[in-house]
Symmetry: C2
């Protein structure tokens, strides 16, 4: 238990509040959240006061904190889903777990409550194996190991910096998919965690992730903002962009990214058909974005997440920025973020005025 407690004190759970009444969300999560420190960031565009039940250890941040600590940024907007990134900046813990406010705890295939935090921390605190695929998935899980043929020299693995959880019920599809298959629900609980191989790219969904803030924190920022960004997940790309930056950074620094458990249960929201005209913008961007990240190679001299992130920003500006202003703005936001991180994301927390 003492081991668990040490871990507990190293975790911040960050929630971006896009809804004012968090009562049912918080109460559903109470059995899990009550052991941890929470950071709740109110979407600056949300007019109503937040309603948060008692019984939690939490800090709440809102527009005035953002203004005070970041000031008026030219390129970074903390509105909508991006408000959570302000929480990343305010955390001083090793690990951050970030979850959307339309998710509730899931049950596993045996009907037991998913150990949401414990699973993310297990993913982050056991090695990742990006340099050779283990067909029985996570070799560090109880009851598993490396299979025949797995090189012994690769079995110690590398540190894991990002853990991507999944979703039951409403999955993280884009608006066209959701509109085409309105009744599509994810009901399959896949009892596995795997390391995404080095060099392979994936679409990281920000709905349910955890990361090692000390190591890759500077590489998670709300850089890519769609002109028509909205309040539904399928109207955002900030997390997908962010995930590609982190994956390229991890590949370069020989760090791991895992995907799979834990699941959350995601509730229904909104009409995908309504979002279709906005979403096509994000869908089209990926055709340029993915080949860019797949072929991006960082210089040897970049040995920290900050340095990698600045190199990515430079390449974005040079290679993508010409064709689309949105990418040029993303590059500016990334550079600005590294400055903000140095000033506000490290050291003691800025005191209230």
């Amino acid at each position: 238990m003492s081991q668990l407690n040490i871990m507990d004190s190293e975790v911040d759970i960050v929630v971006g509040a896009l809804h004012s009444d968090l009562t049912s969300f918080m109460n559903e999560w109470k059995p899990i959240f009550s052991q941890y420190h929470l950071i709740i960031v109110k979407d600056p565009e949300l007019k109503e006061d937040l309603i948060i039940p008692d019984g939690f250890d939490l800090d709440v941040y809102s527009q005035q904190d953002i203004d005070r600590i970041v000031g008026a940024s030219n390129s970074i907007k903390f509105s909508g889903y991006s408000c959570r990134y302000f929480g990343y900046l305010m955390s001083r813990k090793k690990y951050i777990i970030s979850i959307d406010d339309d998710c509730v705890p899931a049950k596993d295939d045996k009907g037991l409550l998913v150990q949401f935090v414990a699973q993310h921390i297990s993913n982050l605190s056991t090695p990742a194996t990006p340099f050779f695929f283990n067909t029985l998935y996570d070799p560090f899980r109880k009851g598993a190991d490396f299979v025949r043929g797995y090189p012994f020299s690769l079995r110690s693995g590398v540190a894991c910096s990002l853990s991507c959880g999944l979703w039951l019920n409403l999955a993280d599809y884009d608006a066209p998919t959701q509109a085409l298959k309105p009744s599509l629900r994810n009901t399959r609980y896949v009892d596995a965690v795997l390391t995404i191989p080095a060099g392979a790219m994936l679409p990281v969904s920000g709905i349910n992730i955890a990361f090692d803030r000390e190591v890759v924190g500077p590489a998670l920022c709300p850089a890519l903002r769609l002109a028509g960004e909205g309040k539904f997940r399928w109207e955002t790309m900030e997390d997908i962009w962010c995930g590609l930056c982190v994956k390229v950074t991890c590949d370069h620094l020989k760090l791991g990214v895992k995907s799979g458990l834990p699941y959350v249960w995601r509730n229904e929201r909104g009409s995908a058909v309504e979002s279709l005209k906005k979403e096509w913008e994000g869908v089209k961007l990926m055709e340029e974005v993915v080949p860019f990240f797949q072929t991006l190679r960082l210089p040897e001299a970049a040995v920290t997440a900050e340095a990698c992130f600045l190199e990515i920003a430079k390449a974005v500006k040079e290679k993508l920025g010409r064709s689309n202003q949105m990418f040029a703005r993303a590059a500016d936001a990334m550079v600005e973020w590294v400055e903000i991180w140095k000033n506000a994301g490290l050291g003691p927390l800025p005191v209230d005025n």
Copy 2:
């Protein structure tokens, strides 16, 4: 059903018989095997006659067939687990499913019999997605799709050429792992199939695989034979080598490799401790073999599996063959195999003398 029947006639199930009495093996598989044509190849080192129950559509091959069709090969030995490759040569079907004779049908997590052949054929006949990872696994499976951020231009996927199934109960660990953890059993049924990303290498186990014979058949041959190769899986490396050759070939030809379902139930056999002194040889080889395959790039001009395989053989000879005779022999076997495949693996079956 007619669709299923067309598929049925395109499948050969190949079994390398390392045990003379196949009665219980065949009877356990009867509900599944009875719909398909079987090719059974008797291990040339097996002295006793095979005992095979009635009620199956099968061809049995043994030493004299190998001698007649292949002749005395300098570099390829069809003994032990390698006997199955003679079956690959004798097949004229599009798909081959290959299974070890110490496996029986598994049940899924709901207690239902695994649809062993149907699952392999589904893996091979639906597209693979090696160029971007889909976090909800196989997007072509019922109830699944591509997640937000997955580029639309990559959603049609590519043809899948190799399907690697898994094992419940006794997993495919190497002798050291099995000896260190003698009671380790795989009890986790992971309900997923995924495409191994392009560029990532994996240890392909020959226990339970299926492949598109027309496309990658020439790249599956028993090339790497350990000096101390034995009759337990952990005393062999032929399949791991073969899998690396096929993966490099598929990556080059833009074809897919999947891993996951279907599972088989693998029975206990042998003492790992006894095998330890043999197995270390295979374990040590992987330290050289994996970096070789990870960095191997094939010339643009290689546009068939045969051509890729010959290029791999050339590189093996040049880069690995100097340090170890075993690799030089493997390269010779690969070149000889392509010749054998042209003469005996294509066209009408050679008639009996």
